[in-house]
């Protein structure tokens, strides 16, 4: 029996199908589309929030989606320790929902950026990042991916190993200011204190096939598979 991975669809989500495809390409994982108007998640093994422009990202990215009927169930699932991953807009929704600290501001140069970046993987082991290689090439595509958190929060994130991904320079080295979007400490992805809720701006599903130029993103889905199998 394959593991049941719930992939949410909000109005304006546009990476939901991509994400289901990447999940379904992972052995033992099976994606299930969950509509935002549902109130019941079923009994998934993991919940994924896709990229896109939920509710047009008007007002603030993810602000309105966070109040979708399904989000109560997602909060419950997260609070009970279930693995949750938000990608891009999904990350924004998770911060708006308070499941992850910080916020995502508009990019430093006020422009949408679509390009492949080099990410450094660090921090604690999570369901999505355990066993990942040290560096990964994964595309970003966002206008508001400029991670911000106040100093206390940053200290905690850094101190507790909650920073999972950092933008590196093109040579794959750590370099202050390497984040193309201006993120504080070049942060590209984080997790909550418990480590079960993960948010990241880069799109692993877009790097899950050699035909697309990189298959590095597959490692996240394989990590989830490994995590669920070990459970």
């Amino acid at each position: 029996m394959a593991f049941d991975v719930a992939v949410l669809t909000f109005p304006g989500s546009n990476c939901d199908a991509d994400l289901r495809w990447a999940v379904n390409n992972t052995p033992e994982l099976s994606a299930r589309a969950v509509w935002h108007k549902e109130t019941d998640l079923g009994a998934p093994d993991a919940v994924l929030l896709p990229g896109g422009f939920s509710y047009g990202d008007y007002l603030r990215c993810g602000a309105i989606a966070r109040f979708s009927p399904i989000m109560n169930a997602v909060m419950e699932f997260a609070n009970s320790g279930g693995p949750v991953l938000g990608i891009c807009n999904g990350f924004q929704v998770l911060t708006e929902a308070g499941l992850l600290p910080g916020a995502l501001l508009s990019n430093r140069d006020q422009k949408f950026i679509c390009e492949t970046v080099v990410l450094g993987k660090e921090g604690k082991d999570t369901a999505f990042t355990k066993g990942l290689p040290e560096t990964l090439r994964i595309p970003i595509a966002h206008h508001d991916g400029n991670f911000f958190a106040d100093q206390d929060t940053l200290d905690r994130l850094e101190g507790e190993g909650q920073v999972l991904f950092r933008y590196l320079n093109a040579q794959g080295e750590r370099q202050s200011g390497a984040a193309p979007n201006g993120s504080v400490h070049d942060i590209a992805g984080i997790c909550n204190a418990a480590g079960n809720v993960v948010g990241m701006m880069p799109h692993p599903e877009r790097a899950s096939d050699p035909a697309l130029g990189s298959a590095d993103g597959r490692a996240l889905f394989s990590a989830l598979q490994g995590f669920l199998e070990a459970k």
């Binding site: 949408f112 679509c114 697309l212």
Partner: protein, 748 residues
């Protein structure tokens, strides 16, 4: 019959003129109607007979284009064209202009251009899979250009990114003829099971007409007639007519429409584009040979106190009109409700061939449908070959520059040649997880995932769409017929570089004022050239768009843009994913030229940029050798033996070779003995050529694959310089900087 509403203006000559109707046109309306039109009807006539909706100057010329072929499923006349991809799939595509709105409000103008073309495609049941855009701006150092480019690019990105449709390519050029009139042409291609294509037809007497999407406001009223007028000093006052787009609403419309299309409810469907509710309902009735009656009070309205005139002429975005089978209304509404959209029944299909509108119980319009469609005015406007062409087509004495390396460096920095990643970095070109050849290449390649549209490839391998947009306005300016023909050849050549066989093309014909015989001649000649090339290369034209009156008046001089027949071509590659590299992948590869050596100086960017001359005939296409080259290129791609191919275009051999080196692997080549001028050999823009690179040991295989196509060994890859023996010797880093910095420098 028509009674006057309190908001109606009395119809007099001045009002008729203000609506852009000629005396003879108005006389025709009077004769057919047998009475004076109502104010509402006058507005409707004005938009339906505008150049934009009626194609009155272009219709007779467009008819000469080849539009049929074994792969054509739907040719021009529908919302978009469709070609057969095999195994039960079709590609649906079209290109459209949003030039005038973009000049006035670059962000919203460009955004709504993308929104409009996307609707044209998903209206037919196809899920959009990729966008292209073709852009023209004035000189890059002009303040207006620096304002337009970021706005247009952000607008295109803003809409396409939000919709989740990747923008995978395009072309951008800068020239002073566009200083007062930029061009924004947007292209979308979608994929659909070929037995699930929907058409914009109103049929079945009594069937309800549903309106769905955004409520109607006073946006863009008279937008369609505006697009058919020259820009002048009074343009400012027309500003409030710009529409604002809501890509979020359109995303909901897209998903809801595609979901509804799985059911058996829709008889016909059409988006509301230019001239909104009017043209969509009129055209649907026209195609169905039916009549329509609409109750305009039922139209969802965003504002208070709107008049029927405004409701009919509004160009509010994100709206669709559907004819559904009687009895399915509730099912249709339920699907739209799921997506938080509200559908309203606004009318019925009738059989009297009349287009009727009611407002508060009164009939405010009643006109025979054909008056507004087939019988709309059409002109064979006078043409004359511009006299200045005689001189322009001849080449004067041109000194040969001493330092050709300096020329090359300067050409790499020319905005037409320079790196466009400043632009496409702002477009989501990856969403969909199918963009396998990304922007920056000769053409984009977009995968159709096996089974994604229910297809079975019967063991022939995965299908990929090759997509390219091309137009060299300078070539067309110097000889519209052969210049346009050359663009067809170049587009097909770009597709061949990614292995794709061309299936069809769409065009967006941007020209000046057709009432001027010079311009009309350019237009007609351009179509002659396109038709000739399409026939010779067996690429049918399946859809298109015409944008005329692209002129600016400053003081008492009016200047037109370079004639710019933008083309976008769609091709198919099927099989194992081609292993192509964006630049030379390694040292030690044999670099070779395919095709004749070529040294055609006329109409080149080199002449223009270095010598300040737009002179000479553009290069001519030799169809048999051009086609042989494409066949050879495709065979090489399929074979997997050639890791790098790139066609020669702007800037000729030297620029193409430099582009090959921009990944960091250099090249050292020697030109064969020739009596031609060195600058012509390096920078001439002859058609029918490409460079390739391969393992030296593969030479025999390459030769076997290319048949009779001439092959000249030029040299080897390696090092970190571009060396053309005795002529150019420059470090890649220097060329790369020149190439990379131009757009950011001017635009950031």
């Amino acid at each position: 019959m028509n009674r006057a509403l309190p908001t109606d203006l009395p119809i007099d000559d001045a009002l008729v003129k203000e609506h852009g109707l000629r005396e003879s046109e108005y006389a025709h309306a009077l004769k057919v109607l047998g009475r004076v039109p109502s104010y509402t009807e006058l507005g409707v006539l004005s938009v339906m007979w505008s150049e934009h909706c009626s194609y009155k100057s272009s219709r007779i010329h467009l008819k000469t284009l080849p539009t049929k072929g074994p792969n054509v499923l739907i040719g021009p006349g529908e919302n978009a064209g469709a070609v057969d991809l095999g195994d039960g799939l079709a590609a649906v595509f079209k290109m459209e202009s949003h030039n005038h709105p973009s000049f006035i409000e670059p962000y919203q103008g460009a955004a709504t251009g993308v929104g409009g073309i996307l609707r044209d495609v998903f209206t037919m049941g196809a899920r959009p899979v990729a966008n292209l855009n073709s852009l023209r701006f004035g000189s890059l150092d002009l303040p207006k250009t620096k304002q337009l480019v970021p706005g247009v690019v952000a607008g295109i990105g803003g809409y396409g990114n939000c919709m989740g449709i990747p923008t995978v390519g395009g072309e951008t050029r800068f020239h002073e003829s566009y200083n007062g009139n930029c061009l924004v042409n947007a292209f979308t291609v979608g994929v659909v099971a070929k037995d699930r294509i929907f058409l914009g037809t109103a049929a079945g007497v009594g069937n309800p007409i549903l309106y769905v999407g955004a409520a109607t406001g006073r946006d863009g009223i008279h937008g369609a007639t505006m697009a058919s007028e020259e820009f002048g000093e009074g343009t400012e006052e027309k500003r409030p007519t710009v529409q604002v787009g809501d890509p979020f609403m359109e995303k909901l419309l897209l998903e809801a429409c595609l979901e509804l299309m799985q059911e058996d409810c829709i008889v016909g469907i059409q988006d509301m584009g230019a001239a909104g509710l009017t043209s969509s309902s009129v055209e649907m009735a026209g195609r169905g040979g039916s009549g329509i009656v609409m109750d305009l009070d039922q139209v969802p309205m965003r504002e208070q106190g709107m008049t029927p005139y405004e409701v009919l002429l509004s160009e509010s975005q994100e709206r669709m009109l559907l004819v559904v089978r009687e009895g399915t209304q509730d099912q249709v509404k339920a699907i739209f409700e799921k997506w938080d959209l509200h559908a309203a029944v606004v009318g019925r299909v009738t059989q009297d061939g009349m287009w009727r509108c009611r407002w508060q119980g009164q009939e405010v319009a009643a006109m025979p449908v054909p008056l507004l469609t087939d019988e709309a005015p059409a002109y064979d406007r006078p043409q004359s070959r511009p006299t200045w062409l005689d001189e322009a087509q001849t080449l004067p004495e041109i000194p040969e520059p001493g330092d050709l390396g300096a020329v090359l460096l300067s050409l790499m920095a020319h905005p037409d040649v320079a790196d466009k990643s400043w632009i496409f970095r702002q477009y989501d070109h990856e969403v969909g997880t199918d963009t396998v050849v990304k922007p920056g290449a000769d053409a984009a390649l977009v995968r159709i995932k096996p089974g994604a549209f229910g297809q079975d490839d019967h063991g022939k391998g995965t299908k990929y769409l090759g997509l390219v947009a091309d137009c060299n306005g300078r070539h067309v300016y110097l000889d519209p017929a052969s210049g346009t023909a050359g663009q067809v050849a170049e587009a097909a050549r770009n597709l061949a570089c990614v292995g794709a066989v061309p299936l069809g093309l769409t065009d967006c014909l941007n020209f000046g004022n057709p009432e001027k015989p010079d311009i009309m001649w350019q237009f007609a000649q351009s179509i002659v050239g396109m038709g000739e090339a399409c026939r010779a290369m067996e690429v049918p034209v399946v859809s298109g768009n015409v944008s005329l009156y692209n002129e600016t008046t400053v003081g008492d001089t009016t200047s037109a843009i370079h004639p710019t027949p933008g083309l976008a071509m769609v091709g198919l590659y099927q099989g194992k994913l081609p292993q192509l590299n964006p630049t030379l992948p390694a040292a030690g590869l044999q670099i070779a030229l395919l095709g004749e050596l070529g040294a055609h100086l006329g109409a080149s960017i080199y002449l223009y940029h270095w010598h300040g001359l737009e002179r000479g005939m553009p290069p001519q296409v030799d169809y048999p050798s051009e086609r042989a080259l494409h066949t050879a290129l495709r065979a090489l791609v399929v074979s997997g033996e050639v890791p790098y191919l790139h066609d020669l275009s702007d800037g000729g051999l030297a620029v193409a070779l430099t582009e090959a080196c921009l990944g960091g692997v250099g090249a050292k080549v020697t030109l064969p003995q020739s009596t031609e001028r060195k600058d012509a050999l390096l920078f001439g823009e002859s058609h029918g050529r490409a460079i390739i690179a391969f393992e030296p040991s593969k030479l025999a295989q390459v030769q076997a694959l290319i048949g009779d196509v001439p092959l000249t060994l030029l040299g080897m890859s390696g090092g970190d310089r571009v060396v053309i023996d005795g002529l150019v010797d420059l470090p890649i880093s220097e060329l790369d900087q020149a190439w990379r910095n131009t757009l950011p420098e001017f635009l950031s």
